[in-house]
Symmetry: C2
Subunit: 465 residues, 2 copies
């Protein structure tokens, strides 16, 4: 486990606040070791730092009451969605209270005419899409995990569809939040755009719960397109695949998804998902549009792929074939783990300008090889974003150290290429050193904002800054 | 003129700082009455509040030097682009120094492969698009005026293309700014997306120069589409036109522009631009795509229009016809003034959910009629955003009061419809009361951020908050 530092604990305050809230919330406040551990960090390799208790509010007013109690006693509050974040976002390095929002899971309104909806933060993206399907609508952001929408907003999540539909910052019209002093605010209403004052919506999106707890969101929706089709194409090299991606974006083909699997990932997918793909870099695409439009996009992409030595191009508009391919993509984490049974998968995320992508991915492959690390790569390459999954024997200290070194090296490389140390996973605990390397002096203004809004540092302390 | 309050002046500090900067900048610091007045508010009806001097920096370092000098002497700084904002953004209610960024007008890089560019804030959108044309690229945001890109970012501008391409918040990847203490920061680099820390990019976009001066921007670009075509269609009522808009958006037709002209605006356009359009509500559209795609969009829109009683539908893909129509749209301000020669045009801007648009526009027409005000309406209706241009005899106190009442009434109406008091013009001085009505408690956190980053309130004081 990677060690992360603990912070001083306010024992007396924690005991008092939990006592008060236990009286108020009864069984909806839990202190068992199992539940506490489940609400500390459980994904990838950062050690678990459990909260002292977990509370399950049902309403914004209840969240406000919890925050006011914790504020009065200077007790840390860690908002919790589904716990699928990857950089230690839900850990409790100073102890305190995990606020689990999973029971605030109501869809409050769907305004089909306006292509928007209002949801509580505990609604998951699958729940929302299931609810919307009959109305011909969908919410496009898909980070892979069936995360809660509140957690997705708090971490500025994105995923495979971002190349066309943007990230959470582009798909939340406004939100309601409980601020560190317990006051409830709305950052906007249902207008598609607004120039009214500072953009508190975007400030809270990606703040990872360090500036307030999101308690309601107004989301943009999309109509389910008339046609959805898929294509896949193999390439001789990562460079050739990336050149094809760049040309596709430059041509303005409105691809909905364009994913890269490197040769090792393809190998893993073949074995795990019973596919028979050439074991060279693969692009996997999805097109949304009218029947004619989607077909035209696939055809144009086929021509581009051809120019860059693409082989085994296959397009399909049948739902079954499409689902099979995308299921394989979604199962990549499990497929990759099978490359080395017993290993832990450590996913690290960077994003670079697309013109540097081939160079960055190839360098990452070479570096992993040099360090003797097994590290399949998949990427949302339309955005220049990719994930390296390091398969590590956690009992081998040398290997863990090599993986740690690799992560630092890759983040520095991405930053040196005018990219970012995280395209979508966020900073949490794991990436704090890289944030400073990437943004330097700007982080001091982030700290000033944090101090202004949360002077006692009770909202998710030890994250981002 | 609408009166706006002045703020206490720091005479000694202003004199000292201007003295120091005059020595440093020589002729690039101007104090003539004409130049000072030109740098106070000159558009629409808010009175002019001139700065004490205007300085023309050439580099980020010079901006930082100016800010450090003003900070040391507690002197207000008002960033100035082209002065086309509408709500008093460039006024100097406490005096101080206007920092005119028009000479920082270099395009520093165009990265065609990444569809981005790096520009100084004084580059105007026309300059940028002229520069990009040969490379098959364009920057889509078009607020009408040939504004500076720095000013457009500072006011979170949008305009006719926003329905497809978003607003400035969606098209600035990152920026460099001089903060109120004179420190230079970068909020990000050239990655398409990032989850690295608080979104300072979006915080500075729309902050109207109250949190810092934008000195460089990395912008997203688009490829010029293969085909651009236009269509127009007349409707019996505003309601019918808005129903057609709503259906168009719901169908997922990726219209690049969809503009409403109400009957009075059409009348003005006919007279001014020599057109012969039916004098009923008009929708004016633009489609971007492949040849097939753009044609298909126009055809589908034609079917929708038909369903809602649209008449005189005409689509064109010839550049000449298209330019004529859009030139008429761009000239609406001048055309409308001709409805009442000698009157001043007061443009007020609201944005509502699209399902409420017809109701809001119709109510605005009725209210203007009841008050005896001539008030043509045009709107970026794909976003639910529209502008009412009140044509006012400024020597008639009753009329001015009625206009003032109308603006307040319309803003309250938009807010009551879950909309916003400004879709794109910003708050400036003119809309400060409505910001509080719209966002209530949230504004206290805006004030806390302002106080944390600019404790002496030197950056564009008297705006937004």
């Amino acid at each position: 486990m990677a060690q992360v530092s603990t912070l001083p604990r306010n024992e007396a305050g924690i005991e008092t606040a939990i006592g008060i809230l236990k009286q108020r919330f009864g069984d909806r406040l839990q202190t068992s070791a199992a539940i506490r551990e489940q609400h500390g960090h459980t994904t990838t390799w950062i050690e678990n730092q459990s909260p002292d208790a977990v509370v399950f509010p049902h309403s914004t007013e209840e969240v406000a009451e919890i925050v006011r109690t914790c504020a009065a006693h200077h007790v840390p509050i860690i908002p919790f969605g589904t716990g699928t974040s990857l950089e230690g976002h839900v850990n409790a390095p100073a102890g305190g209270l995990s606020v689990d929002l999973s029971q605030m899971n109501r869809i409050l309104a769907v305004n089909a005419g306006d292509l928007d909806c209002v949801v509580q933060p505990g609604v998951t993206r699958d729940d929302l899409n299931t609810h919307l399907r009959d109305q011909g609508l969908f919410f496009p952001i898909d980070p892979g995990a069936n995360a809660s929408l509140g957690g997705m907003a708090a971490t500025r999540a994105s995923g495979t569809n971002a190349v066309r539909y943007g990230t959470m910052k582009d798909n939340v019209l406004s939100l309601e939040a409980v601020m560190p002093d317990g006051q409830i605010i709305r950052t906007g209403h249902r207008a598609r755009k607004s120039s009214a004052g500072y953009d508190l919506t975007r400030l809270l999106i990606g703040a990872e719960g360090t500036l307030g707890i999101i308690t309601e969101m107004t989301l943009r929706l999309q109509g389910i397109p008339e046609a959805i089709s898929s294509a896949r194409c193999s390439f001789p090299t990562v460079d050739a695949a990336c050149q094809a991606v760049m040309m596709t974006i430059q041509y303005g083909i409105p691809v909905a998804r364009i994913e890269l699997l490197d040769e090792m990932s393809v190998k893993a997918a073949n074995a795990y998902s019973g596919l028979n793909l050439p074991e060279t870099p693969l692009l996997l695409l999805e097109f949304h549009g009218s029947d004619t439009g989607a077909a035209e996009q696939a055809e144009t992409f086929g021509q581009i792929a051809d120019e860059f030595g693409g082989t085994d191009f296959a397009a399909t508009s049948t739902t079954e074939e499409r689902n099979k391919l995308w299921q394989a993509r979604h199962d990549m984490y499990w497929a990759s783990l099978q490359l080395r049974p017993g290993a832990r998968g450590i996913s690290t995320d960077v994003c670079v300008p697309i013109s540097r992508l081939a160079e960055c991915v190839t360098a990452a492959q070479d570096q992993a090889r040099e360090l003797g690390l097994l590290a399949p790569i998949v990427g949302h390459v339309g955005d220049g974003n990719f994930h390296t999954l390091l398969l590590i024997d956690m009992d081998n200290a040398n290997e863990v150290a090599a993986a740690d070194g690799f992560v630092g090296w890759l983040n520095d490389l991405a930053i040196s290429m005018e990219g970012t140390c995280t395209g979508e996973h966020g900073i949490g605990q794991g990436k704090r050193p890289y944030l400073v390397r990437e943004l330097g002096a700007a982080t001091s203004y982030m700290s000033a904002i944090k101090a202004a809004l949360d002077p006692d540092n009770i909202m998710n302390p030890g994250k981002i800054l």
